[in-house]
Amino acid sequence: MRPVNTYIGRPIERVEDFRFLRGRGQYIGDLKRDGQWHAAMVRSPVAFGRIVKVDAAPALKMPGVRAVITADDIARPLPTIPFRRKNPTIAPYAQPIIAADHVRYVGEPVAVVLAASAELAEDAAQEVALEIEAMTPCVDWQASMAGTPLLFAGTKTNIASTFTAQCGDAAAAFAAASYTRRERFSVQRHTALPMETRGLLAEWHASDNRLTVCGAAKLPFFNRRAMAGMMGLPETSVDYIELDVGGGFGARGEFYPEDFLVAFAARKFGHPVKWIEDRREHFTAIGHARQVDADIEIACERDGTVTAMRGTMYADIGAYVRPNGMTPVRNVVQFTTVPYRIPNLDFTGHGVLTNKTPAGTYRGPGRFEGCLFCERMFDIAARELGIDNLDMRRRNLLTAQDMPYTLVGIAPDDGFGEDECDSGDYRVTLERCLEEFGWDDKKVLAGTLRDGRYHGIGVGCFVEGGGSGPRESARMEVTPDGNVDVYVGSSAIGQGIETIMAQIAADALEIPMDQIRVLHGSTNYLKEGFGSYGSRATVMGGSAVVLAAENLLKALRETAARKFAVTPEDISVSGGVAHVRDGRSITLAQAGATDSLTSEGTYSSNKRTYTYGAAAAHVSVDPKTGSVEVVDYVVVDDVGRAINPLTLHGQVVGAAVQGFGSVFSENLVYDASGQLLVGSLADYQIPLATDYPHIRAVTLEQFPAPHNPLGAKGAGEGGIIPVGAAVTNAIASALSAFNVQPTDLPLTPPRLWALIEKARAAQAS
């Protein structure tokens, strides 16, 4: 870590903002090419069925329609959506890039209409006649577990994969425990919902057999590799270009069927092809997330020392295993108990297929869910044991003495590798959170009725994994005008990496930030890159920038040595200037003007970072309606080192508000026939400006990350992870007089009202 920094750690206003604020952002929808065709997807209207016939003739007769693509136009075997992690059982459940024989969810692409304008393409898509023999779908996971019908003929089960995480001897610990408690929980299906829908613009350059795909996000290099394989092209003949991206949150930027279909159309017809998802199709087409039911059991001593936890999770992953469809499943199995030192664990998680939109990741995948299960169990146990729920946490939280703390291993091996919590003292963030929140003052409110509303307070402790490996790359180039262009493999998805990376580069080179320009994401900038997911951009990309900067200064030293005919050891570099002892000097800009001054840096690490923290919520519940007001909410995390407190704080607060949507209102509801009942932003209710005004976030930097040169831990997902836990615990606290123990999300007013009425009736009888 550098001793002195000018930019790192300061709340620098973002460089990106100038274009965004003036309407000069460049999003995929803004892009136009001469002669471009527009694509519209024809999607399955039924949840499960056999395709009998796709008749494009009526559509082809319409004005402006250029072509219609169906599975018959694509060579067999049909390419399938790639997996991000290895797994021994998921291969049969990969999604073909277009439905050929069967459709398995409402919204699955069956055909692509190409026309002169988006309007004409959309008009014509409705005229493609689909004859589909409907079959009985598996809409809920319970039915699917039974295996009738099977979603994929030739397989033996609708369970795509089962993960286990075991350590110690949970069975023995449960047998010996003085207190055990079992409870069921569920989290509803919802989605990341970026404000910009997805979109792509693909161009085929016939002269040199090259494909360009604009509209990349999250992991352009992985998608390029997948696309090159499907197209039978060398990787270097495919470029994924990243523009401004209107939000990612885990869902955007994965390889989707449309990635292939739009590129295929561009190559087949030799025209640029543009596709912009509309909001209605977004709901059936983008990855869903979070739907999981859990059966959790805790064993502890009477003082609250937890001796074991075990349980089974059932994740409804939809109709196919998408690139990271297994990530939430494996995460909920491995991470549910992580802030705590629990010696005996035995968890099993099933990824269960259903005839619904395939699921993937959403900010804090598996962790939001697991945190809810674990933290609710702690509060339920503390209440029944008659002990303080905070003392119970203090007794079990990981401390500095426990670090590094080896995580429970997981089977099957999915390449995640062995891992450990890297540094920290998890009690510190809890205590700070309680202090910021004013827990001791608010304690008197718990369970009281004031002005017709019951008040309650609750906490949730969490960890957030970040900085996932294996590598990230950066390249630097001194430009003729004396500035430095920094190319990074990390992707921008709205998190402000142009600013963050410029801060890091400027400090490492000791030059002003306005001399740095950051270019990111696109595959034509670097030989290799990985992208932005799992809170890795700052840690991995930022560390690569540090290494590239060291190499650039080394190159400067060598250039100066040559120029002044001395050895590199005679040169000292500071402030971006190389000095010889005799007083001669040369700046980066001067050296770059005459010599090509470039450098590369690759940071490799398989050691993840673990940000951790705690959240506290104060809620009031109207027992007559079941509506909840969040009166106060505080989240404290320790990120090791904050590169930019302004952007970090923004991410934490924004993530927290997303979490309130998960707790109270966002819900992708299907009917019994597998029709998605959500079709617009009027049905799918994300938080509004009037909903959650009282949120505070505090960031600590007490325990730097031990494994990277910045000391930074991945952050940005943590804000959402403890929301379900803290808020439902606060609701249980508010309604403690009735012993209402919420276990199922979302806690809509009707659902909470019903819980209150049921508890009242039970008390009366």
């Binding site: 965004f20 910009e196 401004d244």
Partner: protein
Amino acid sequence: MKLRFEINGKGIEADVAPRTTLCDCLREHLNLTGTHAGCEHGVCGACTVIVDGRAVRSCLLLAVQAAGASIVTVEGLADGDELSPLQKAFRKHHALQCGFCTPGMLTTLHALLSDEPTADEERIRDVLSGNLCRCTGYIPIVKAALEAREHYAKKQGSKAG
């Protein structure tokens, strides 16, 4: 059909099909891509523009309905390269992340604060509740709006004086 508007102070003509929305007209025909289409059903507010002083959803208005009107889009808020006080406050408070909802937030607030420079937090939140943001949690947007009020008050004061 041929339409005439005044957009960001300049007279502009467009030749569009009758079913073209104002949003598509701005984006596709006039290359004013700062106005964003987030839902095309009037819920998200990303496409908000100011038509004759009022903030409207350009995805729910046909271009022909705005013929002859004076329109302000996000591109018309800054003074050349100089950010407006509201835009500066957005930057200072980190009231934008991905930037996609930002044009609609700015136009909505510009219309509100031009009319009501003393709008209080509750009023600001109430008006903003028609614009969706998925990144910020709205808190910094509200802070930025509160801070920008004094500039609008001054402007109104100087107009009245």
